[in-house]
């Protein structure tokens, strides 16, 4: 089980890291310092480890790091900064969608993936979009509301709450 040098571009920064074959993308990212990617169930049930892998939201615990060699990864921390937060990050804070915060990075990634494809989601589409992400604090109501607020801010042309 020899390590192999792989290349990962995370939040715009390119890294070359030597990793063994049994290291998941989740552990690779956390070892590289991207600890906003959370380690939850490690079997694809909770979504806490979600990242965008080449633009697609995935559970990083179910990707072998070698499989991601050469890929672009976006983690929640790459969405924005404290000075210039992403509208989703701002809305999660403003609305109070964060309680313990453990699910938040994965929720932000799932929400980002949803809004990239569905700029004017219905409430049902939002619920479906975050169905792979467990939150044990909020009851989801504020999270759904935050995604609606962010959608409106990103794509103000139509009201996201209105069904088509």
């Amino acid at each position: 089980m020899e390590p192999k040098l792989i290349t990962l571009t995370v939040n715009g920064h390119t890294h070359h890291v030597a990793l063994k074959p049994n290291v998941t993308l989740l552990h690779a990212l956390r070892q590289m310092g991207y600890i906003d990617v959370k380690d939850g169930c490690e079997k694809g049930d909770c979504g806490a480890c979600a990242v965008l892998l080449n633009g697609r939201a995935v559970n990083s615990c179910l990707v072998l790091a070698w499989q991601a060699d050469g890929a672009e990864v976006l983690t929640a921390a790459g969405l924005g900064t404290a000075e210039h937060p992403h509208p989703l990050q701002e809305a999660f804070a403003d609305v109070g969608a964060v309680q313990c915060g453990y699910c938040t990075p994965g929720m932000l990634i799932a929400a980002k993936a949803l809004l990239d494809r569905t700029p004017y989601p219905t409430e049902e589409q939002i619920r479906e979009g975050i169905s792979g992400n467990l939150c044990r604090c909020t009851g989801y109501a504020k999270i759904i509301q935050a995604i609606q607020v962010a959608a409106e801010k990103i794509s103000p042309a139509a009201s996201p709450a209105k069904p088509e």
Partner: protein, 289 residues
């Protein structure tokens, strides 16, 4: 942390098949990893070798080939949801894909992997059984095709040999006047494992009689199954309430369900009869529109 294994990264399909042949039986292919990685972590699989087939270009496409829709083994469930050929020729597969796992899982899980994993609850199985799909298996010795109904042997067991790779799923293009429907009973609306699922298909002739009927059931037997006696009860007849009810009764009789944390055997049998009756009734209504 995952147990130790060697990960092989072939660049071409022939290279992958050589690797599988060399290391069989202590080897498993991995694509999306949504089943294999948790199974390695839990200890269900202890493998010395794993062959990554996720990036093989030969397995990526969904294409129309003569009278078939061919879904490469690297195609994810999310790709199936977006694909116009699937929407046109296999809408029942699309319906089931929309209910498989959750968006994060669908972006990794492959259709072929869902079949090869051979869970009785595999969401891709009932629609593909209803469509008379075939599984294409390749090894360094050659290629063979197996009817999906002959592919499953038992819970998590298939006819795939350790040195073989599922390379694709082949679906015959449906004839005119073929109508399908899918149902899935879970413990919640999304991200649920099926308590019971099914796909029905009704092909009718010009007189409106059922020329061919398929009733495929998930989570109610050790493997996904066809309810052949139920199908025969409708074939050659008009899909009227009485023969539909009879077919639904026979479908429930074809089940061999178990009690588990998601539901009882009694419930599974009962809900199968109700849902088969409803979906057949829906197909009968749709095919006269």
């Amino acid at each position: 942390m995952l147990p130790e294994f060697e990960l092989l990264m072939p660049r071409t399909l022939p290279e992958a098949l050589e690797m599988l042949a060399e290391h069989a039986p202590d080897v498993m292919p991995v694509a999306g990893g949504t089943n294999l990685i948790p199974d390695m972590r839990s200890g269900r699989y202890r493998l010395r070798w794993v062959v990554n087939v996720a990036s093989l270009l030969e397995l990526q496409a969904i294409r129309r080939e003569d009278g078939w829709l061919v879904i490469g083994a690297g195609v994810t469930v999310a790709q199936v949801l977006d694909d116009p050929l699937v929407a046109q020729y296999a809408p029942v597969l699309r319906e089931a894909a929309a209910l498989l796992g959750n968006p994060l899982v669908r972006n990794r899980a492959t259709v072929a992997g869902n079949l090869a994993d051979a869970s009785p609850a595999a969401d891709m199985a009932p629609p593909l059984l209803a469509l008379d799909a075939e599984v294409e298996l390749a090894s360094n010795q050659g290629t063979r095709r197996v009817l999906l109904r002959d592919f499953f042997l038992g819970v998590r067991r298939t006819v795939r040999q350790p040195h073989e790779l599922v390379t694709g799923v082949r679906v015959p293009l449906p004839p005119p006047r073929s109508v399908t429907a899918f149902y899935k009973i879970g413990l919640r609306e999304a991200d649920a494992i099926a308590v019971a699922s099914g796909a029905v298909r009704m092909d009718r002739d010009e007189s409106g009689r059922c020329r061919l009927v398929r009733i495929a059931l998930g989570s109610v037997a050790p493997t996904p199954i066809r309810a052949c006696q139920a199908e025969a009860a409708l074939e050659g007849r008009l899909p009227e309430p009485e023969p539909i009810a009879e077919a639904a009764r026979l479908a429930a009789e074809a089940t061999r369900p178990i009690d588990d944390i998601r539901g009882s055997a009694t419930y599974r049998r009962h809900v199968t009869e109700v849902m088969v009756r409803r979906t057949l009734t829906e197909c009968a209504a749709r095919s006269t529109e």
